[in-house]
């Protein structure tokens, strides 16, 4: 028996004679370090525990140890987390750096570029959903300002736009530390602009943005309606573009679908390369989970990963959230979770997506979105403004809620089921072709799920 086994046997014995609370309080985090000169050395987490074991359980522990390993004649307790010795030599870790950052202590955010170092190409998982965007982003880093300028990446929430954007910045920064890079979210850009106007420092603001080699703007859809920001971005863009400096934008929708944005800016977004990131397929999701478990240094059963990947179909961020939760649970339990336990842990995350939504509710939401009366949708009128919403309802019921065609026909005022089949086909075709329409559908879905 090695010392670990001996100690486990002792603990098992003690456990029988103690209440669970007592056992956990006094014996948690204790270990048998070694047996030296007939003395067993037990490491304990604190002085309180040391004192208690010495006074209360010393005999029991010694007897049990002696029974299992007769050479042990005495027991000593030491505090495990033993801090550095009282009189220590000055051997300091250099963490307290004065930096330009707001923190006294450095973080992973580079203050000059605003880039977060954790986003790299190496930890970006490529799948069929994002390979175009990934390839374009890589190409940009290799031919800065020459190949795809501007690069416009769009895709839904939590699919990795920001990751790609920052990865571009980090790679360029690594390969060419002299390049002047700046990452700004759209909000930050606007905020700085407002600040500059307020403090009358427009010239320094302009200078700051116009001496860049690489400008990365995140979430440009938020520029909608902010005219002065649009104008300033437009001028900044032109200035950089003329000098062949690289610009990369991201947005949650294609340029065409961003409402209230000036035409001249829109056309500039479209002037370079547009790449989309769509929802990851099952294999990609699984690959993402595997990469993340590797980074976290955790070993998690493949079945569990599969279960997560199957049940969280869209958002990568949610995928990570679910995984983190599993990892946390595992730490807490100090044993791998079974599939059943995983289901229990994740049930609260998943039920949100599976909330029951009735056909009535769908009709109501679609009607309110298009500003129509519910009754008109159910009517048999063939007015164009009614036909489209009606088809959208059918499409949603079919695609999102898996109603049968006949059932849908029934629910929508006793139609023929072939009408429904036609409607679903037509809508899904149009979603593929018309980004504006696709945007509408996304908005309606948002309305439905985020009540």
């Amino acid at each position: 028996m090695n010392s670990q086994e001996i100690w486990e046997a002792v603990l098992a014995e003690i456990k029988l004679n103690l209440s669970k609370a007592n056992f956990l309080t006094w014996f948690k985090d204790t270990t048998l370090l070694e047996v030296k000169d007939e003395v067993a050395i037990i490491s304990v987490p604190s002085n309180f525990v040391k004192e208690w074991l010495e006074k209360k359980y010393h005999k029991t522990i010694l007897n049990l140890l002696n029974k299992l390993s007769p050479e042990i004649k005495n027991v000593q307790y030491v505090i495990s987390s033993s801090k550095k010795p009282l009189l220590k030599t000055a051997q300091k870790v250099k963490t307290f750096l004065p930096s330009n950052d707001q923190m006294l202590i450095q973080t992973t955010i580079n203050p000059e570029t605003n880039l977060n170092l954790k986003y790299t190409f190496e930890n970006f998982v490529v799948g069929s959903n994002n390979e175009l965007a990934h390839a374009a982003a890589l190409a940009v880093t290799e031919n800065l300002g020459k190949k795809y300028n501007p690069l416009f990446i769009y895709g839904g929430v939590g699919l990795g736009k920001t990751h790609l954007l920052q990865a571009i910045g980090n790679k360029v920064n690594k390969e060419n530390p002299k390049a002047v890079i700046r990452y700004a979210s759209c909000e930050k850009f606007t905020e700085e602009l407002v600040e500059a106007i307020r403090n009358q420092t427009m010239s320094s603001f302009k200078k700051k943005f116009r001496q860049l080699d690489l400008l990365l703007i995140d979430d440009v859809q938020f520029l909608a309606g902010k005219e002065k920001s649009q104008e300033e971005l437009f001028h900044t863009f032109n200035n950089l573009y003329e000098k062949n400096k690289q610009i990369v934008f991201t947005s949650d929708r294609p340029p065409k679908a961003i409402s209230s944005i000036e035409e001249r800016l829109r056309s500039r977004f479209e002037g370079g390369m547009i790449a989309d990131i769509s929802y990851p397929d099952f294999e990609t999701r699984l690959a993402i989970l595997k990469t993340k478990t590797q980074i976290a240094g955790q070993d998690i059963n493949e079945d569990i990963l599969r279960y997560i990947a199957e049940n969280i179909p869209k958002n990568v961020r949610e995928l990570e959230g679910a995984l983190n939760r599993i990892i946390a649970e595992t730490h807490l339990k100090q044993a791998p979770l079974s599939l059943e336990e995983t289901k229990k842990v994740l049930s609260s995350l998943l039920t949100k997506n599976n909330r029951y939504i009735s056909a009535q509710e769908v009709i109501k939401k679609v009607a309110s979105f298009y500003d129509l009366d519910e009754k008109l949708i159910l009517s048999h009128s063939r007015k164009k403004e009614l036909v489209k919403p009606r088809q959208v309802v059918m499409y949603l019921l079919r695609e999102e809620f898996k109603y049968s065609f006949t059932n849908i026909a029934e629910k929508l005022g006793h139609r023929d089921h072939t009408t429904v089949i036609y409607a679903c086909q037509k809508v899904s075709e149009e979603v593929g072709q018309d980004p504006v329409f696709s945007q509408e559908i996304t908005l309606i879905k948002d309305l439905l799920y985020n009540k």
Binding site: K20, A21, N22, L24, T25, S46, N47, F48, V49, K50, E51, W52, K55, K56, I79, S81, S82, K83, K84, P85, L86, L87, K88, K92, V93, K94, T95, F96, L97, P98, N100, D101, Q102, M103, L104, I105, P111, E192, V194, E195, R198, N199
Partner: protein, 376 residues
């Protein structure tokens, strides 16, 4: 046991014990106090297994059984004695229960088995540090506001004690600001050492000094016994022992600015008031914008939020040197720093608008508060 003591002292002991006693813990006995008879005195103990405290109370022992121990629920006992208002209180044990009488009230508390009550460790070292109790209390109170007890780095959740011969530096930081106070020891320790005491321990030590039980002897000094992983504070008849935080405190000296491009001395009260009022208009990031105007001998303060408006003021300085400078701070951090500076005037030292600033009382040599600006 039958014991009579002053209610005022008993209250203080029970309340200190109640604060230390464990809450929401798996071991229910931790939410109790241990009361022991000890040769004409009683000893009240409490612990949550991180901090432990023992308070000796003198009084009149009318009947004593050698080393009698009882364990009573802390919360209800504290609530009961806090409502009493007589001069004296009588404690009596009867059939394993504790009876407390004071004036027209009587309470009988059920007790738990005293053998289950944790033993509060003792320090073994004889080496100790002595400091004036009022001085250390004030120092802790001035340093604590700079600490965030929820910081992710555990070493930053505590108060750093850095001993160097005859001086003790007490430091707190949450990585955005840092406060350092230097005090003189009243004895000679003549060694170098340092340790980090947990946030809660620091608070309890300063409260323990505030609520100290007055005995015939007036204890002016707090005696500190540091060990490698625990620390004990003795004040008169009270003993508080605590775990230390493991870890290396960041090397913070380098961030303290030594020279300043801009130096300002301004009335403390006036400055605090201005920041409070203008700060009402600070945006989500709590930023307030300071402009130093040496030509007019003024500081201007502006805060603005896009949704509700703008507030501004300017105030005359006592002295101002340097150039025109504009710099932003989190106004709450600024308030924290200025309000713990001593004296009627505060000194503010600035360099560039992205370098840390220093705040202290105009005449102060042993205190400083360093604050990072908010970068625009």
């Amino acid at each position: 046991m039958k014991f009579v003591t002053l209610l005022e002292n008993f209250k203080k002991a029970i309340n200190l014990g109640e604060r230390i006693s464990g809450k929401n813990f798996t071991l229910p006995i931790l939410s109790n106090l241990l009361i022991e008879s000890k040769k004409n005195k009683i000893c009240v103990s409490a612990t949550d297994l991180e901090i432990g405290v023992e308070i000796l109370l003198t009084g009149q022992m009318e009947e004593e059984k050698e080393n009698e121990k009882i364990v009573v629920p802390a919360k209800i006992l504290a609530n009961f004695v806090n409502h009493l208002s007589e001069e004296k209180v009588l404690l009596e044990t009867k059939n394993q229960n504790l009876i407390i009488r004071s004036g027209k009230y009587q309470a009988e508390f059920l007790t738990l088995n005293p053998e289950d009550f944790p033993i509060i460790p003792k320090v073994k070292t004889i080496k100790n540090i002595e400091v004036n109790k009022e001085e250390i209390k004030q120092s802790l109170e001035r340093v604590i506001p700079a600490i965030s007890p929820n910081a992710s780095r555990s070493e930053l959740t505590g108060v750093y004690f850095d001993l160097n011969g005859k001086t003790l530096k007490i430091v707190g930081t949450d990585s955005y600001r840092l406060a350092e106070k230097t005090i003189k020891l009243t004895n000679d320790f003549s060694e170098k050492t340092n340790f980090i005491i947990p946030f809660r321990t620091a608070i309890e030590v300063s409260r323990m000094i505030a609520d100290n039980i007055e005995e015939e002897l007036d204890h002016q000094n707090l005696i500190i016994y540091p060990e490698s992983n625990q620390i004990q504070f003795n004040l008169g008849n009270t003993r508080l022992i605590s775990q230390l935080i493991n870890g290396e405190y960041p090397q913070y000296e380098a961030i303290i600015p030594k020279e300043f491009e801009n130096e300002v001395v301004v009335g403390k009260k006036e400055l605090l008031e201005s920041i409070k009022i203008v700060g009402l208009f600070a945006s989500r990031v709590n930023d307030i914008f300071l402009t130093l105007n040496p030509d007019k001998k003024e500081i201007n303060l502006v805060a603005q939020d896009q949704t509700f408006g703008k507030g501004q003021t300017s105030l005359k300085t006592k002295t101002i040197q340097g150039n025109h400078l504009s710099i932003s701070f989190d106004y709450r951090y600024l308030l924290d720093g200025i309000s713990v500076a001593e004296g009627d005037f505060v000194f503010l030292g600035f360099n560039k608008d992205n370098n840390p600033a220093l705040i202290r009382g105009e005449e102060e040599k042993d205190f400083l508060y360093v604050l990072m600006p908010i970068k625009i």
